[in-house]
Point group: C2
Chain length 296, copies 2
Protein backbone atom coordinates (compact mmCIF):
# COMPACT_ATOMS: atom_id res chain seq x y z
CA UNK A 1 0.00 0.00 0.00
CA UNK A 2 1.37 3.35 -1.06
CA UNK A 3 0.74 5.60 1.93
CA UNK A 4 1.15 8.76 -0.14
CA UNK A 5 -1.92 7.95 -2.18
CA UNK A 6 -5.09 9.72 -1.16
CA UNK A 7 -7.37 7.28 0.65
CA UNK A 8 -11.00 7.89 -0.38
CA UNK A 9 -13.76 5.97 1.39
CA UNK A 10 -17.14 5.26 -0.26
CA UNK A 11 -20.34 3.41 0.68
CA UNK A 12 -20.73 0.08 -1.04
CA UNK A 13 -18.67 -2.79 -2.36
CA UNK A 14 -15.67 -2.59 -4.73
CA UNK A 15 -16.97 -1.72 -8.19
CA UNK A 16 -19.84 0.42 -6.85
CA UNK A 17 -21.08 3.55 -8.63
CA UNK A 18 -19.64 5.59 -5.73
CA UNK A 19 -16.17 4.15 -6.38
CA UNK A 20 -16.55 4.98 -10.08
CA UNK A 21 -17.45 8.55 -9.07
CA UNK A 22 -14.31 8.82 -6.89
CA UNK A 23 -12.14 7.74 -9.82
CA UNK A 24 -14.00 10.06 -12.22
CA UNK A 25 -13.21 13.00 -9.90
CA UNK A 26 -9.70 12.14 -8.72
CA UNK A 27 -8.28 9.67 -11.24
CA UNK A 28 -7.13 6.07 -10.76
CA UNK A 29 -4.14 7.00 -8.59
CA UNK A 30 -6.10 6.88 -5.32
CA UNK A 31 -6.80 4.17 -2.77
CA UNK A 32 -10.52 3.50 -2.50
CA UNK A 33 -11.82 2.27 0.85
CA UNK A 34 -15.21 0.46 0.83
CA UNK A 35 -17.60 0.82 3.78
CA UNK A 36 -20.88 -1.15 4.14
CA UNK A 37 -23.15 1.68 5.42
CA UNK A 38 -23.27 5.48 5.42
CA UNK A 39 -22.76 5.47 9.20
CA UNK A 40 -19.59 3.36 8.87
CA UNK A 41 -18.47 5.58 6.00
CA UNK A 42 -18.71 8.79 8.03
CA UNK A 43 -16.59 7.17 10.78
CA UNK A 44 -13.75 6.36 8.33
CA UNK A 45 -11.88 9.68 8.62
CA UNK A 46 -12.06 9.76 12.45
CA UNK A 47 -10.92 6.12 12.50
CA UNK A 48 -7.85 7.06 10.46
CA UNK A 49 -8.94 4.72 7.65
CA UNK A 50 -9.45 7.46 5.03
CA UNK A 51 -8.40 10.99 4.11
CA UNK A 52 -11.62 11.86 2.32
CA UNK A 53 -15.13 10.55 1.66
CA UNK A 54 -16.94 10.45 -1.67
CA UNK A 55 -20.70 10.53 -1.03
CA UNK A 56 -23.84 10.72 -3.20
CA UNK A 57 -26.03 13.73 -2.42
CA UNK A 58 -28.66 13.74 -5.15
CA UNK A 59 -29.95 11.47 -7.92
CA UNK A 60 -31.94 12.78 -10.87
CA UNK A 61 -34.59 10.05 -10.45
CA UNK A 62 -34.55 9.40 -6.68
CA UNK A 63 -33.93 12.89 -5.29
CA UNK A 64 -31.70 13.89 -2.37
CA UNK A 65 -29.85 11.36 -0.24
CA UNK A 66 -31.31 12.59 3.03
CA UNK A 67 -29.17 10.38 5.31
CA UNK A 68 -25.97 11.83 3.85
CA UNK A 69 -27.13 15.39 4.57
CA UNK A 70 -27.94 14.38 8.17
CA UNK A 71 -24.53 12.78 8.69
CA UNK A 72 -22.74 15.71 7.04
CA UNK A 73 -24.50 18.12 9.40
CA UNK A 74 -23.46 16.02 12.43
CA UNK A 75 -19.85 15.79 11.22
CA UNK A 76 -17.02 18.34 11.08
CA UNK A 77 -16.43 17.59 7.40
CA UNK A 78 -16.60 20.06 4.55
CA UNK A 79 -17.42 19.70 0.83
CA UNK A 80 -14.37 20.40 -1.30
CA UNK A 81 -15.41 19.18 -4.76
CA UNK A 82 -18.35 17.69 -6.67
CA UNK A 83 -18.76 15.36 -9.63
CA UNK A 84 -21.80 14.11 -11.57
CA UNK A 85 -21.81 10.48 -12.70
CA UNK A 86 -24.20 8.98 -15.26
CA UNK A 87 -25.79 5.91 -13.63
CA UNK A 88 -25.56 3.30 -16.37
CA UNK A 89 -26.74 -0.26 -15.79
CA UNK A 90 -24.94 -3.09 -17.57
CA UNK A 91 -25.79 -6.78 -17.95
CA UNK A 92 -22.66 -8.54 -16.66
CA UNK A 93 -21.85 -12.25 -16.94
CA UNK A 94 -19.02 -14.78 -16.59
CA UNK A 95 -16.25 -14.54 -19.19
CA UNK A 96 -17.26 -16.73 -22.12
CA UNK A 97 -20.98 -16.57 -21.36
CA UNK A 98 -23.27 -15.48 -24.19
CA UNK A 99 -26.73 -13.90 -23.88
CA UNK A 100 -28.34 -17.26 -24.82
CA UNK A 101 -26.73 -18.87 -21.73
CA UNK A 102 -28.42 -16.51 -19.26
CA UNK A 103 -31.42 -17.64 -17.22
CA UNK A 104 -31.08 -15.69 -13.95
CA UNK A 105 -30.31 -11.97 -13.56
CA UNK A 106 -29.63 -10.60 -10.10
CA UNK A 107 -29.11 -7.08 -8.71
CA UNK A 108 -30.38 -4.64 -6.11
CA UNK A 109 -34.18 -4.28 -6.50
CA UNK A 110 -33.77 -0.59 -7.36
CA UNK A 111 -31.46 -1.52 -10.26
CA UNK A 112 -33.88 -4.26 -11.36
CA UNK A 113 -36.74 -1.74 -11.22
CA UNK A 114 -34.76 0.69 -13.39
CA UNK A 115 -34.52 -1.96 -16.14
CA UNK A 116 -38.24 -2.82 -16.57
CA UNK A 117 -38.16 -2.42 -20.38
CA UNK A 118 -35.10 -4.68 -20.62
CA UNK A 119 -36.84 -7.43 -18.63
CA UNK A 120 -40.05 -6.99 -20.65
CA UNK A 121 -38.00 -7.51 -23.84
CA UNK A 122 -36.28 -10.59 -22.33
CA UNK A 123 -39.00 -12.56 -20.53
CA UNK A 124 -36.69 -15.60 -20.33
CA UNK A 125 -34.59 -13.84 -17.64
CA UNK A 126 -35.61 -14.61 -14.05
CA UNK A 127 -35.13 -11.51 -11.85
CA UNK A 128 -33.40 -12.22 -8.56
CA UNK A 129 -32.92 -9.57 -5.88
CA UNK A 130 -29.49 -8.95 -4.31
CA UNK A 131 -28.36 -6.60 -1.55
CA UNK A 132 -25.89 -4.67 -3.70
CA UNK A 133 -25.28 -4.06 -7.42
CA UNK A 134 -21.50 -4.67 -7.35
CA UNK A 135 -22.09 -7.46 -4.81
CA UNK A 136 -24.34 -9.25 -7.30
CA UNK A 137 -21.36 -9.43 -9.71
CA UNK A 138 -19.09 -10.73 -6.92
CA UNK A 139 -21.66 -13.43 -6.03
CA UNK A 140 -22.12 -14.42 -9.68
CA UNK A 141 -18.36 -14.86 -10.19
CA UNK A 142 -18.06 -16.82 -6.92
CA UNK A 143 -20.88 -19.11 -8.03
CA UNK A 144 -19.13 -19.73 -11.35
CA UNK A 145 -22.41 -20.41 -13.17
CA UNK A 146 -22.60 -19.19 -16.78
CA UNK A 147 -26.40 -19.14 -16.67
CA UNK A 148 -26.29 -16.31 -14.11
CA UNK A 149 -25.83 -12.61 -14.83
CA UNK A 150 -25.87 -9.44 -12.73
CA UNK A 151 -26.74 -5.78 -13.29
CA UNK A 152 -24.16 -3.25 -12.09
CA UNK A 153 -21.73 -0.49 -13.01
CA UNK A 154 -19.08 -1.05 -15.68
CA UNK A 155 -16.50 -0.75 -12.90
CA UNK A 156 -17.89 -3.88 -11.18
CA UNK A 157 -17.35 -5.91 -14.38
CA UNK A 158 -13.76 -4.67 -14.59
CA UNK A 159 -13.08 -5.27 -10.90
CA UNK A 160 -14.26 -8.90 -11.01
CA UNK A 161 -12.90 -9.63 -14.54
CA UNK A 162 -16.44 -10.30 -15.78
CA UNK A 163 -17.91 -9.63 -19.23
CA UNK A 164 -20.45 -6.98 -20.21
CA UNK A 165 -23.17 -8.57 -22.37
CA UNK A 166 -25.33 -5.46 -22.75
CA UNK A 167 -24.66 -1.79 -21.96
CA UNK A 168 -26.94 0.99 -20.71
CA UNK A 169 -29.94 -1.28 -20.21
CA UNK A 170 -31.73 1.12 -17.83
CA UNK A 171 -35.15 2.49 -18.88
CA UNK A 172 -34.22 6.11 -18.32
CA UNK A 173 -30.97 7.16 -19.96
CA UNK A 174 -31.05 10.47 -18.07
CA UNK A 175 -30.07 8.98 -14.73
CA UNK A 176 -27.36 10.97 -12.96
CA UNK A 177 -26.03 11.09 -9.43
CA UNK A 178 -24.24 14.09 -7.96
CA UNK A 179 -21.43 13.13 -5.57
CA UNK A 180 -19.35 15.38 -3.31
CA UNK A 181 -15.89 14.93 -1.82
CA UNK A 182 -15.72 15.51 1.94
CA UNK A 183 -12.58 16.25 3.99
CA UNK A 184 -12.13 17.32 7.60
CA UNK A 185 -12.15 21.04 8.34
CA UNK A 186 -8.56 20.61 9.60
CA UNK A 187 -7.49 19.18 6.27
CA UNK A 188 -9.29 21.93 4.40
CA UNK A 189 -7.75 24.60 6.66
CA UNK A 190 -4.25 23.25 6.01
CA UNK A 191 -4.87 24.10 2.37
CA UNK A 192 -5.13 20.49 1.27
CA UNK A 193 -8.20 21.26 -0.78
CA UNK A 194 -8.15 18.98 -3.76
CA UNK A 195 -9.79 21.36 -6.18
CA UNK A 196 -9.47 24.97 -5.11
CA UNK A 197 -12.23 27.00 -6.73
CA UNK A 198 -10.17 30.18 -6.37
CA UNK A 199 -6.85 28.85 -7.62
CA UNK A 200 -7.16 30.23 -11.11
CA UNK A 201 -8.69 33.65 -10.63
CA UNK A 202 -11.44 35.66 -9.06
CA UNK A 203 -14.07 35.17 -11.76
CA UNK A 204 -14.18 31.40 -11.68
CA UNK A 205 -17.62 30.00 -10.93
CA UNK A 206 -17.88 29.13 -7.23
CA UNK A 207 -20.55 26.97 -5.67
CA UNK A 208 -21.43 27.12 -1.97
CA UNK A 209 -23.57 24.65 -0.01
CA UNK A 210 -25.08 25.93 3.21
CA UNK A 211 -27.41 24.62 5.92
CA UNK A 212 -29.58 26.88 8.03
CA UNK A 213 -32.44 26.65 10.49
CA UNK A 214 -35.53 28.80 10.42
CA UNK A 215 -38.50 29.32 12.62
CA UNK A 216 -41.68 28.09 10.95
CA UNK A 217 -43.29 31.51 10.55
CA UNK A 218 -44.40 33.65 7.63
CA UNK A 219 -41.52 35.55 6.09
CA UNK A 220 -38.66 33.69 7.80
CA UNK A 221 -37.46 32.00 4.62
CA UNK A 222 -37.93 35.16 2.62
CA UNK A 223 -35.69 37.10 5.01
CA UNK A 224 -33.03 34.40 4.78
CA UNK A 225 -33.06 34.33 0.97
CA UNK A 226 -33.29 38.06 0.35
CA UNK A 227 -29.53 38.73 0.84
CA UNK A 228 -28.66 36.28 -1.96
CA UNK A 229 -30.96 38.13 -4.37
CA UNK A 230 -29.64 41.53 -3.22
CA UNK A 231 -26.02 40.41 -3.76
CA UNK A 232 -27.02 38.85 -7.11
CA UNK A 233 -26.06 35.29 -6.14
CA UNK A 234 -27.87 32.46 -7.95
CA UNK A 235 -29.85 29.97 -5.92
CA UNK A 236 -29.32 26.51 -7.48
CA UNK A 237 -31.09 24.24 -5.04
CA UNK A 238 -33.26 24.56 -1.98
CA UNK A 239 -34.69 21.86 0.20
CA UNK A 240 -36.45 21.99 3.54
CA UNK A 241 -36.80 19.29 6.15
CA UNK A 242 -38.62 19.25 9.47
CA UNK A 243 -36.28 18.98 12.47
CA UNK A 244 -37.06 15.99 14.65
CA UNK A 245 -38.42 17.01 18.04
CA UNK A 246 -38.78 20.65 16.99
CA UNK A 247 -42.09 20.76 15.13
CA UNK A 248 -41.94 24.49 14.43
CA UNK A 249 -38.37 24.69 13.19
CA UNK A 250 -37.11 23.72 9.77
CA UNK A 251 -33.71 22.75 8.43
CA UNK A 252 -32.92 24.17 5.00
CA UNK A 253 -30.21 23.06 2.61
CA UNK A 254 -29.21 25.51 -0.13
CA UNK A 255 -26.74 25.49 -3.00
CA UNK A 256 -25.80 28.89 -4.42
CA UNK A 257 -23.42 29.87 -7.19
CA UNK A 258 -21.63 33.02 -8.30
CA UNK A 259 -18.77 34.13 -10.51
CA UNK A 260 -18.10 36.90 -8.00
CA UNK A 261 -16.51 35.17 -5.06
CA UNK A 262 -16.27 38.44 -3.12
CA UNK A 263 -20.07 38.65 -2.95
CA UNK A 264 -20.41 35.50 -0.83
CA UNK A 265 -19.04 36.85 2.44
CA UNK A 266 -21.25 39.96 2.76
CA UNK A 267 -24.29 37.93 1.62
CA UNK A 268 -23.60 35.29 4.29
CA UNK A 269 -23.20 37.97 6.94
CA UNK A 270 -26.66 39.30 6.03
CA UNK A 271 -28.19 35.80 5.90
CA UNK A 272 -26.81 35.01 9.36
CA UNK A 273 -28.81 37.92 10.82
CA UNK A 274 -32.03 36.24 9.64
CA UNK A 275 -31.29 32.65 10.73
CA UNK A 276 -30.71 30.84 14.00
CA UNK A 277 -28.11 28.37 12.85
CA UNK A 278 -26.11 28.95 9.68
CA UNK A 279 -23.35 26.64 8.50
CA UNK A 280 -21.30 26.66 5.32
CA UNK A 281 -21.07 23.02 4.22
CA UNK A 282 -18.49 23.75 1.57
CA UNK A 283 -17.12 26.08 -1.08
CA UNK A 284 -16.08 24.36 -4.31
CA UNK A 285 -15.92 24.42 -8.08
CA UNK A 286 -19.16 23.23 -9.71
CA UNK A 287 -18.82 20.02 -11.74
CA UNK A 288 -18.10 20.78 -15.38
CA UNK A 289 -19.81 17.54 -16.40
CA UNK A 290 -23.28 18.71 -15.48
CA UNK A 291 -26.31 16.56 -16.22
CA UNK A 292 -27.72 18.93 -18.83
CA UNK A 293 -24.67 18.79 -21.08
CA UNK A 294 -23.41 15.28 -20.37
CA UNK A 295 -22.81 13.09 -23.40
CA UNK A 296 -21.27 9.71 -22.87
Amino acid sequence: MDSRKLRVAFQGEPGAFSEAAAVQLLGENILTVPRPTFDALFAAITDGAADALLVPVENSLAGSVVRVYDLLLESDLTITAETILPIEMNLIAMPGASPADIHVVSSHPMALAQCEKFFAAHPQFKRTPAEDTAGSVREMMARGDKSCAAIAARRAATHYHATILAERIQDNLENFTRFVLLVSLDTAARGVAFLNPFASGERLLTKMSIALRLKHQPGALLAALEPFARHRINLLKIESRPIHGRPWEYQFFLDVETEMHARLEPALADVSKATSDLRVLGLYAPARNNAASQEK
Copy 2:
Protein backbone atom coordinates in the same frame (compact mmCIF):
# COMPACT_ATOMS: atom_id res chain seq x y z
CA MET B 1 -67.21 -6.98 -5.49
CA ASP B 2 -69.19 -4.11 -4.07
CA SER B 3 -69.10 -1.50 -6.80
CA ARG B 4 -70.12 1.27 -4.39
CA LYS B 5 -66.92 0.90 -2.43
CA LEU B 6 -64.21 3.41 -3.22
CA ARG B 7 -61.47 1.71 -5.26
CA VAL B 8 -58.07 2.98 -4.12
CA ALA B 9 -54.97 1.90 -6.05
CA PHE B 10 -51.51 1.75 -4.45
CA GLN B 11 -47.99 0.75 -5.54
CA GLY B 12 -46.88 -2.59 -4.17
CA GLU B 13 -48.28 -5.96 -3.20
CA PRO B 14 -51.22 -6.67 -0.87
CA GLY B 15 -50.08 -5.92 2.69
CA ALA B 16 -47.77 -3.07 1.61
CA PHE B 17 -47.22 0.03 3.75
CA SER B 18 -49.08 2.01 1.06
CA GLU B 19 -52.16 -0.20 1.50
CA ALA B 20 -51.93 0.29 5.27
CA ALA B 21 -51.83 4.06 4.67
CA ALA B 22 -54.97 3.88 2.49
CA VAL B 23 -56.82 2.05 5.27
CA GLN B 24 -55.49 4.44 7.93
CA LEU B 25 -56.89 7.37 5.92
CA LEU B 26 -60.16 5.90 4.62
CA GLY B 27 -61.01 2.94 6.83
CA GLU B 28 -61.34 -0.75 5.95
CA ASN B 29 -64.48 -0.25 3.85
CA ILE B 30 -62.58 0.41 0.61
CA LEU B 31 -61.35 -1.81 -2.21
CA THR B 32 -57.57 -1.62 -2.50
CA VAL B 33 -56.07 -2.17 -5.95
CA PRO B 34 -52.38 -3.20 -6.07
CA ARG B 35 -50.16 -2.02 -8.93
CA PRO B 36 -46.54 -3.17 -9.46
CA THR B 37 -44.94 0.19 -10.38
CA PHE B 38 -45.65 3.90 -9.97
CA ASP B 39 -46.15 4.19 -13.74
CA ALA B 40 -48.80 1.43 -13.69
CA LEU B 41 -50.35 3.04 -10.60
CA PHE B 42 -50.81 6.42 -12.27
CA ALA B 43 -52.57 4.69 -15.20
CA ALA B 44 -55.13 3.03 -12.90
CA ILE B 45 -57.69 5.88 -12.86
CA THR B 46 -57.56 6.43 -16.66
CA ASP B 47 -57.89 2.64 -17.13
CA GLY B 48 -61.06 2.68 -15.02
CA ALA B 49 -59.49 0.33 -12.46
CA ALA B 50 -59.55 2.80 -9.56
CA ASP B 51 -61.33 5.91 -8.29
CA ALA B 52 -58.35 7.26 -6.36
CA LEU B 53 -54.62 6.67 -5.80
CA LEU B 54 -52.80 6.58 -2.48
CA VAL B 55 -49.15 7.53 -3.07
CA PRO B 56 -46.11 8.17 -0.85
CA VAL B 57 -44.62 11.64 -1.29
CA GLU B 58 -42.03 11.92 1.48
CA ASN B 59 -40.25 9.70 4.01
CA SER B 60 -38.55 11.07 7.11
CA LEU B 61 -35.39 9.01 6.41
CA ALA B 62 -35.34 8.78 2.62
CA GLY B 63 -36.71 12.20 1.59
CA SER B 64 -39.12 13.02 -1.22
CA VAL B 65 -40.41 10.41 -3.64
CA VAL B 66 -39.29 12.27 -6.73
CA ARG B 67 -40.92 9.92 -9.25
CA VAL B 68 -44.35 10.47 -7.70
CA TYR B 69 -43.98 14.26 -8.02
CA ASP B 70 -43.00 13.85 -11.68
CA LEU B 71 -46.00 11.61 -12.42
CA LEU B 72 -48.35 13.89 -10.49
CA LEU B 73 -47.17 16.87 -12.55
CA GLU B 74 -47.77 14.94 -15.80
CA SER B 75 -51.23 13.80 -14.67
CA ASP B 76 -54.54 15.64 -14.31
CA LEU B 77 -54.93 14.40 -10.73
CA THR B 78 -55.25 16.51 -7.61
CA ILE B 79 -54.34 15.93 -3.97
CA THR B 80 -57.45 15.73 -1.80
CA ALA B 81 -56.12 14.38 1.52
CA GLU B 82 -52.93 13.38 3.29
CA THR B 83 -51.98 10.88 5.97
CA ILE B 84 -48.74 10.11 7.82
CA LEU B 85 -47.93 6.46 8.54
CA PRO B 86 -45.24 5.24 10.96
CA ILE B 87 -43.07 2.77 9.02
CA GLU B 88 -42.72 -0.10 11.47
CA MET B 89 -40.82 -3.24 10.51
CA ASN B 90 -41.94 -6.57 11.95
CA LEU B 91 -40.34 -10.02 11.93
CA ILE B 92 -43.03 -12.24 10.41
CA ALA B 93 -43.03 -16.06 10.29
CA MET B 94 -45.24 -19.09 9.62
CA PRO B 95 -47.98 -19.73 12.19
CA GLY B 96 -46.50 -21.95 14.89
CA ALA B 97 -42.90 -20.93 14.20
CA SER B 98 -40.87 -19.69 17.17
CA PRO B 99 -37.83 -17.38 17.07
CA ALA B 100 -35.55 -20.39 17.67
CA ASP B 101 -36.78 -21.98 14.40
CA ILE B 102 -35.68 -19.05 12.21
CA HIS B 103 -32.53 -19.28 10.10
CA VAL B 104 -33.31 -17.12 7.07
CA VAL B 105 -34.86 -13.63 7.07
CA SER B 106 -35.85 -12.05 3.77
CA SER B 107 -37.11 -8.61 2.76
CA HIS B 108 -36.43 -5.68 0.45
CA PRO B 109 -32.79 -4.54 0.93
CA MET B 110 -33.98 -1.14 2.17
CA ALA B 111 -35.99 -2.85 4.93
CA LEU B 112 -33.04 -5.13 5.76
CA ALA B 113 -30.78 -2.05 5.93
CA GLN B 114 -33.22 -0.36 8.34
CA CYS B 115 -32.84 -3.29 10.77
CA GLU B 116 -29.03 -3.37 11.16
CA LYS B 117 -29.15 -3.43 14.97
CA PHE B 118 -31.65 -6.29 14.94
CA PHE B 119 -29.38 -8.38 12.68
CA ALA B 120 -26.32 -7.49 14.78
CA ALA B 121 -28.18 -8.78 17.86
CA HIS B 122 -29.22 -11.97 16.01
CA PRO B 123 -26.17 -13.10 14.03
CA GLN B 124 -27.78 -16.53 13.48
CA PHE B 125 -30.24 -14.97 10.97
CA LYS B 126 -29.12 -15.09 7.33
CA ARG B 127 -30.28 -11.95 5.49
CA THR B 128 -31.82 -12.66 2.10
CA PRO B 129 -32.90 -9.88 -0.27
CA ALA B 130 -36.38 -9.85 -1.81
CA GLU B 131 -38.04 -7.51 -4.31
CA ASP B 132 -40.83 -6.38 -2.00
CA THR B 133 -41.51 -6.32 1.77
CA ALA B 134 -45.06 -7.71 1.59
CA GLY B 135 -43.92 -10.01 -1.25
CA SER B 136 -41.32 -11.54 1.08
CA VAL B 137 -44.18 -12.63 3.40
CA ARG B 138 -46.12 -14.07 0.45
CA GLU B 139 -43.04 -16.04 -0.69
CA MET B 140 -42.34 -17.31 2.84
CA MET B 141 -45.92 -18.60 3.23
CA ALA B 142 -45.83 -20.20 -0.23
CA ARG B 143 -42.57 -21.95 0.66
CA GLY B 144 -44.13 -23.30 3.87
CA ASP B 145 -40.76 -23.46 5.65
CA LYS B 146 -40.81 -22.64 9.38
CA SER B 147 -37.11 -21.75 9.34
CA CYS B 148 -37.85 -18.75 7.10
CA ALA B 149 -39.08 -15.33 8.22
CA ALA B 150 -39.75 -12.02 6.47
CA ILE B 151 -39.67 -8.34 7.42
CA ALA B 152 -42.73 -6.31 6.48
CA ALA B 153 -45.69 -4.22 7.65
CA ARG B 154 -48.15 -5.64 10.22
CA ARG B 155 -50.72 -5.59 7.45
CA ALA B 156 -48.72 -8.14 5.42
CA ALA B 157 -48.80 -10.58 8.37
CA THR B 158 -52.57 -10.16 8.66
CA HIS B 159 -53.13 -10.49 4.91
CA TYR B 160 -51.20 -13.78 4.66
CA HIS B 161 -52.33 -15.16 8.05
CA ALA B 162 -48.74 -15.20 9.28
CA THR B 163 -47.40 -14.60 12.79
CA ILE B 164 -45.48 -11.60 14.09
CA LEU B 165 -42.47 -12.81 16.11
CA ALA B 166 -41.02 -9.35 16.85
CA GLU B 167 -42.47 -5.86 16.44
CA ARG B 168 -40.84 -2.53 15.53
CA ILE B 169 -37.43 -4.04 14.83
CA GLN B 170 -36.20 -1.07 12.76
CA ASP B 171 -33.15 0.88 13.99
CA ASN B 172 -34.83 4.26 13.80
CA LEU B 173 -38.22 4.42 15.50
CA GLU B 174 -38.85 7.86 13.99
CA ASN B 175 -39.53 6.56 10.50
CA PHE B 176 -42.63 8.11 8.92
CA THR B 177 -43.99 8.33 5.40
CA ARG B 178 -46.38 11.01 4.25
CA PHE B 179 -48.95 9.74 1.73
CA VAL B 180 -51.48 11.72 -0.30
CA LEU B 181 -54.77 10.70 -1.87
CA LEU B 182 -55.12 11.63 -5.55
CA VAL B 183 -58.35 11.89 -7.53
CA SER B 184 -59.07 13.23 -11.01
CA LEU B 185 -59.84 16.92 -11.35
CA ASP B 186 -63.28 15.88 -12.68
CA THR B 187 -63.99 13.88 -9.55
CA ALA B 188 -62.80 16.74 -7.35
CA ALA B 189 -64.89 19.25 -9.34
CA ARG B 190 -68.03 17.12 -8.86
CA GLY B 191 -67.55 17.69 -5.16
CA VAL B 192 -66.51 14.12 -4.44
CA ALA B 193 -63.66 15.31 -2.29
CA PHE B 194 -63.23 12.76 0.44
CA LEU B 195 -62.10 15.14 3.12
CA ASN B 196 -63.17 18.69 2.44
CA PRO B 197 -60.91 21.10 4.31
CA PHE B 198 -63.59 23.79 4.24
CA ALA B 199 -66.54 21.66 5.32
CA SER B 200 -66.45 22.65 8.96
CA GLY B 201 -65.74 26.36 8.87
CA GLU B 202 -63.51 29.08 7.57
CA ARG B 203 -60.78 28.85 10.24
CA LEU B 204 -59.87 25.22 9.74
CA LEU B 205 -56.22 24.71 8.86
CA THR B 206 -55.82 24.31 5.09
CA LYS B 207 -52.78 22.96 3.32
CA MET B 208 -52.00 23.69 -0.31
CA SER B 209 -49.40 21.98 -2.50
CA ILE B 210 -48.22 23.88 -5.55
CA ALA B 211 -45.70 23.41 -8.35
CA LEU B 212 -44.09 26.30 -10.16
CA ARG B 213 -41.27 26.96 -12.61
CA LEU B 214 -38.72 29.70 -12.26
CA LYS B 215 -35.93 31.09 -14.35
CA HIS B 216 -32.56 30.39 -12.77
CA GLN B 217 -31.69 34.01 -11.99
CA PRO B 218 -31.06 36.03 -8.84
CA GLY B 219 -34.28 37.07 -7.16
CA ALA B 220 -36.69 34.84 -9.09
CA LEU B 221 -37.47 32.60 -6.13
CA LEU B 222 -37.67 35.54 -3.78
CA ALA B 223 -40.28 37.21 -5.99
CA ALA B 224 -42.30 33.97 -6.09
CA LEU B 225 -42.22 33.52 -2.30
CA GLU B 226 -42.78 37.12 -1.29
CA PRO B 227 -46.60 37.01 -1.75
CA PHE B 228 -46.88 34.15 0.78
CA ALA B 229 -45.01 36.18 3.38
CA ARG B 230 -47.04 39.30 2.60
CA HIS B 231 -50.33 37.39 2.97
CA ARG B 232 -48.98 35.72 6.13
CA ILE B 233 -49.17 32.17 4.79
CA ASN B 234 -46.78 29.61 6.30
CA LEU B 235 -44.33 27.84 4.02
CA LEU B 236 -44.10 24.20 5.19
CA LYS B 237 -41.90 22.64 2.55
CA ILE B 238 -39.89 23.76 -0.43
CA GLU B 239 -37.94 21.69 -2.88
CA SER B 240 -36.28 22.55 -6.15
CA ARG B 241 -35.39 20.28 -9.04
CA PRO B 242 -33.63 21.01 -12.30
CA ILE B 243 -35.87 20.56 -15.34
CA HIS B 244 -34.47 18.07 -17.81
CA GLY B 245 -33.41 19.72 -21.05
CA ARG B 246 -33.83 23.21 -19.62
CA PRO B 247 -30.61 23.83 -17.69
CA TRP B 248 -31.57 27.35 -16.61
CA GLU B 249 -35.08 26.63 -15.40
CA TYR B 250 -36.07 25.02 -12.13
CA GLN B 251 -39.17 23.21 -10.96
CA PHE B 252 -40.21 24.06 -7.41
CA PHE B 253 -42.61 22.14 -5.19
CA LEU B 254 -44.09 24.01 -2.22
CA ASP B 255 -46.45 23.14 0.60
CA VAL B 256 -48.08 26.08 2.38
CA GLU B 257 -50.58 26.22 5.20
CA THR B 258 -52.99 28.76 6.62
CA GLU B 259 -56.00 29.00 8.90
CA MET B 260 -57.28 31.82 6.72
CA HIS B 261 -58.50 30.12 3.58
CA ALA B 262 -59.43 33.45 2.01
CA ARG B 263 -55.77 34.48 1.90
CA LEU B 264 -54.80 31.74 -0.54
CA GLU B 265 -56.47 33.10 -3.66
CA PRO B 266 -54.98 36.62 -3.61
CA ALA B 267 -51.56 35.18 -2.67
CA LEU B 268 -51.70 32.76 -5.62
CA ALA B 269 -52.69 35.57 -7.96
CA ASP B 270 -49.59 37.51 -6.88
CA VAL B 271 -47.35 34.43 -7.12
CA SER B 272 -48.56 33.74 -10.66
CA LYS B 273 -47.24 37.16 -11.76
CA ALA B 274 -43.73 36.10 -10.73
CA THR B 275 -43.68 32.59 -12.20
CA SER B 276 -43.87 31.06 -15.66
CA ASP B 277 -45.88 27.97 -14.82
CA LEU B 278 -47.93 27.74 -11.63
CA ARG B 279 -50.13 24.78 -10.77
CA VAL B 280 -52.10 24.01 -7.63
CA LEU B 281 -51.54 20.30 -6.93
CA GLY B 282 -54.18 20.17 -4.24
CA LEU B 283 -55.98 21.85 -1.38
CA TYR B 284 -56.60 19.61 1.63
CA ALA B 285 -56.73 19.22 5.39
CA PRO B 286 -53.29 18.58 6.93
CA ALA B 287 -52.92 15.16 8.59
CA ARG B 288 -53.77 15.36 12.28
CA ASN B 289 -51.38 12.49 12.94
CA ASN B 290 -48.27 14.49 12.16
CA ALA B 291 -44.83 12.99 12.74
CA ALA B 292 -43.99 15.33 15.61
CA SER B 293 -46.93 14.32 17.77
CA GLN B 294 -47.41 10.71 16.68
CA GLU B 295 -47.57 8.13 19.49
CA LYS B 296 -48.42 4.59 18.61
